[in-house]
Every structure is written in C-alpha cells, then in structure tokens.
Amino acid sequence: MDIKQAFRLAVKSLLGSKMRSFLTMLGIIIGVGSVIVLVSLVNGMSQDMVSTFESMGTNLISVTVMGRGGNRTVTPDEMQTLVDENPDTIGAMSPSISISGATVKYSSDNVTASCVGVNEFYGEVNNAAVAEGRAIAYMDVEQRARNCVIGTYLVNELFAGADPLGETIRINGESFQVVGVLEETQGGEEGSEDATVLIPYTVAQRLSQTFMVSSYSFSAKNKDTVDAAMDIIDSFLLQKFSSSDAYRVFNQADALTQVNELTGTMTLVLVGVAGISLLVGGIGIMNIMLVSVTERTREIGVRKSLGATPWDILSQFVVEAITTSSVGGIIGILFGIAAAYLAAALMQMSVAISLPAILIAFSVSAIIGVTFGFFPARKASKLNPIEALRYD
C-alpha cells in the first residue's frame, strides 16, 4: 500500500469521527499550543530586555558601592581622578543618584518620573544626546544650580508638546528650571528611558539627603577596553575597601549574558512543563488507537484475508497516528500563535514567534504519533486473521 493512499485513508478516518478525533488531538493541541505561547512570550520579553540594554550601550560599566560600615566611601572626585589617570581605557564617569518615583509637577499637572542626579559627562557615558537646549553642565554641578534636563515623555505630558525650555517645574516640591530636552529613545513611553529627569548630582544629594554616592556609571574608551577599564576600577575599589564584597562592578554585556541565561532557563522549564502535556497527549493517542484497533479487528481480518501483510497493517495504523498527531500539532501551532498574540495584547507584553519553536513543536508531534502509534499498530499487525474475521 502506497503512503499517499494510506494518508488519504487516515484523513478520511479522522473526518469520519470528528468529535473523537478532536478529543484525541486535544492533548497534542494543548501541548504544542503552550510551547508556542510560552516560547513566544519569553522570546519577546528577552528581545525587549536585550534592546533596552543595547540602547544603553555596551561600553557602559556600572559601579555600585555598598560600603563596608564606617565612613569609608568613595567620592565623585576620586572617581574622576581615576578617569583622568586612565585616559586610554576609561572614557568618562558620571555619578548616578536615583530618586525613584519622583513627582514632577508643572502648573496643575503631575507625572511620576525617574529622577537621576548626574554630572556633565552623563550624555557621554550613557549615549544620551540632548535634542533641545543644553545638558547638565559643570557649572550646574559646582553651583548646585536648580536646573534640569527632561525626557520627551515629560514634555508631552506636562507641556503638551509646547516648548518647555526656560519653564519652571517642581520635582518633589523643589523648583527647577528646564534647560534641555533629551533625545527620544523609546517612543516617549511612560516608565521608559524617556520618562527621566536629570538634575545635577550635587542637588540630588541634597534632595535625597544622602551624601554618599553609591552608584556610578563609567563608559569605556571603546568596546575593546571594557574589560581593562573594569579591572582598573575594580582594583582601585578593592584597594579602597579591601574587600570585594563592598562594591560591584558590572558591564551591560555581562548583564545581557545574565538575561539570556535567565530566559534560557525559563524557556527550558516552561518547555519541560509543555513537554509533559505532550507526553500526556501522546498517551491519549495511544489509548484511542488501541480502542480503534479493537473496534476494527474485523476490518483488519478482512484486509489480511485480501492479502495485506503485517507491514501493510502496521503502516496503516502508524500513518493514522501520525496524521492525528500532526494535524493536532498544526492546530496547536495556529492556536498557540493566536493565543500568544492575545496574551501579549492583554498583558502588554511583546511576542516574538519563533520559527525553530514551531518546527520543533511540529516534529515532536509527528514523532509522538510514531512512538505512541507504534504499539497499537503492532498489535493490529499481529492479529490472527482467522480470529480477527470471527470477531464481533
């Protein structure tokens, strides 16, 4: 019996009892569907994170100082000296004092933004250019000037797109004059880089009432000196604190690797869970195939009496199982893609449909058909034709 004919028969037999076929496939549909949904969402999330990190630049080195009790700390001036002494490796440095969830007010409008105290090198360190006006300058830092540079989200929300330069806004109740607007990087959305207010770090120290600067951003001279720059900063801080637990030096590339590892692990766990449901689906197929073999005992006897070899019978039932599981797989893939987009729309997540995931899911469902269809098919092929013909 040729394979085309066998597939035609299998499709016919599937269509012959639609409800049963659907229930048989359900396990596979759910299994494959959930693989597609989960992998797509995790992929989307990881792509979002990667693009965020990349927009920050891979030259960026972040330093967090936890301190070690006592008053030992590291000052911005010391850090600046470090930059000046190593012009070949380190590009620039800016302190980074975050006042998170700051309320920014203009006339009667309020928005929440992330307020960061920086110095004049912020733009260079973070790849952040100013679109209008000017950036925070050395004199702002020195004179503790109440000047600020705002992101486009704030321009849109507070000034409705009107020119904000020279206007006075209030950050947590303190007045600041807007001297510049940052270039838009993430579509001006809430909670993104565009919802930032930059102020001189010396002012931020006062606002947050902490004089110890616990966070610095450095940029390496270029991509190739990132590791060298990190070593220099690390050895400087180690000397300062005599313990590597008192600070942390890390690079965006490292963070990126960590994110990838994390999402990789997540994907594996999720795929493992989905794999279990595929296994259950396969057992469902085996169960129905066994019932089908019993029901069609007489048919098998007739086919054998007409000259079907055990191989003919075996392939007929295996092809039927493969068809069931593959059709289930295809439905599962379509269902999974639809569900991924739906979930993404509802939860405002990104989706990235992964072609390899689709191919793997489809092959796995076909393999499940062969694996779980084989046992019932073998049973069918071994039936004694005389007994099978006598079966009622």
């Binding site: 019996m1 040729d2 004919q5 016919k12 037999s13 012959g16 007489r298 048919e299 006897g301 007739v302 086919r303 054998k304 009496s305 007409l306 000259g307 079907a308 070899t309 055990p310 191989w311 003919d312 034709p385 005389i386 013909l389």
Partner: protein, 235 residues
Amino acid sequence: MIELTDIYKIYTDGDSEIHALDGISLRVERGEFVAIVGASGSGKSTCMNIVGCLDVPTSGRYCLNGTDVSTMGEYELAHIRNKELGFVFQQYNLIPKLTVQENVELPLVYRGIKPAKRQELAMAALERVGLGDRSNKLPSQLSGGQQQRVSIARALAGQPPVILADEPTGALDSHTGREVLTFLKKLNREGTTIVLITHDNSIAAELPRVVRIQDGKILSDTPNPAATGLGEVAG
C-alpha cells in the same frame, strides 16, 4: 490446482489434543465447483482456513497451483492470498467506511497496482456483478444481496484462479441466496475454480461435486449427477 495431502490440524488444549482435521486428502482440479459440506464443528471451517492460506496445517502437504504453501511464512501467505485466492464471506465483510469501488480495489491496493489501473479493474469487476452504477455508494446503502455481489466483485477484482466462498448465502433470504448461487455458477462456467463451504444440503445438491466432512475426516466425495442442469439460469 488444490492438492491437500494427508492434512492434520491439531490443537492442544491442556493435555488433550483436538484433531480439527484428521488426515484429509483432497484434489480439486482447475474449473471445478466443489461444495464442502459439514455440520458445525465438523472441521469444514478449519479446512477452509487452510485452503484459504489463513492457517497452516500441523502436518501434511498443501499445494496450491503447483506451489507448496504448507510451510510458508506470514508474508508469503499474505502474498498467495492476494494473488491466488478470492474470498466471499457469509457476512460480506465489506469495510463500512469505504465506498463500494474502494472496497473492490482493496486486493489490488495490496498488490501494489497503480490507482488508474486499479479503478479500471475494480469497475470491470463491478460491471461483471451488475453493480457498475453503485460504485460510489457506501456498503450500508446497498441491500444484502447487492453487498454480497460487491464482495464477489472484490474477490474477482484481482482475477485469482480460485474463489473460496464461506456460506455465501447464509445471511441472505432464499430468493437472494439463489441469485448469488446462480451468479457463482456462471462464474464457474466462465472458468473460475470455486470451493464453496456450506451446511445447507439444498445448496450442495445443486453443485456437481460434494465433499462431506465429519469429525475432521472426509466422509464422502461424490460427483453429483443431479446437478447437470448447470446452464439453465443466467445471472
């Protein structure tokens, strides 16, 4: 054509042995129409299974068309059934999900014949049994007599030299049964060797040679001069 020599079929049930066939020897020549008659349990079904290559004898020799099939394996037997034999069953045994034509094509499918040729042969067989216009129906849409004719067409499709009919009229009313029997006689006149199994003496009485089986042995093997009026009815 069919040559059974000293065939034994012995089943063991615990310690006791059951001799389903107890030394049967039988020769059927090409073109014969033989009735094998016996009560249930007489061994006639076992005999049919062995002649039909569905089963192998415990001992003895069975030559079909000059080939010794008594020692063949499963695959060779399937091949012999496909090429040399056509089966007609009491319960028709058509596959309900397949159309009439697809049912008739089945033996050709297993012979590996291409679809176009298959269709041609199947239609020819259906025309022969007078059901050429029902090829796209499902078996359930036909009457019992028509279904039996489809099963005869299926047996004929592969043009085997021998047709084995196991109680072909058993499930039919006497009128339809007679039609089917008449049709088998016509096939026999056209050159097909037919072995028919029945417990019905009135059917056996119409056939030219009657072999009676009892307790696994041949009781009598007699030509039947009463069945000379073979040509009287045409299908």
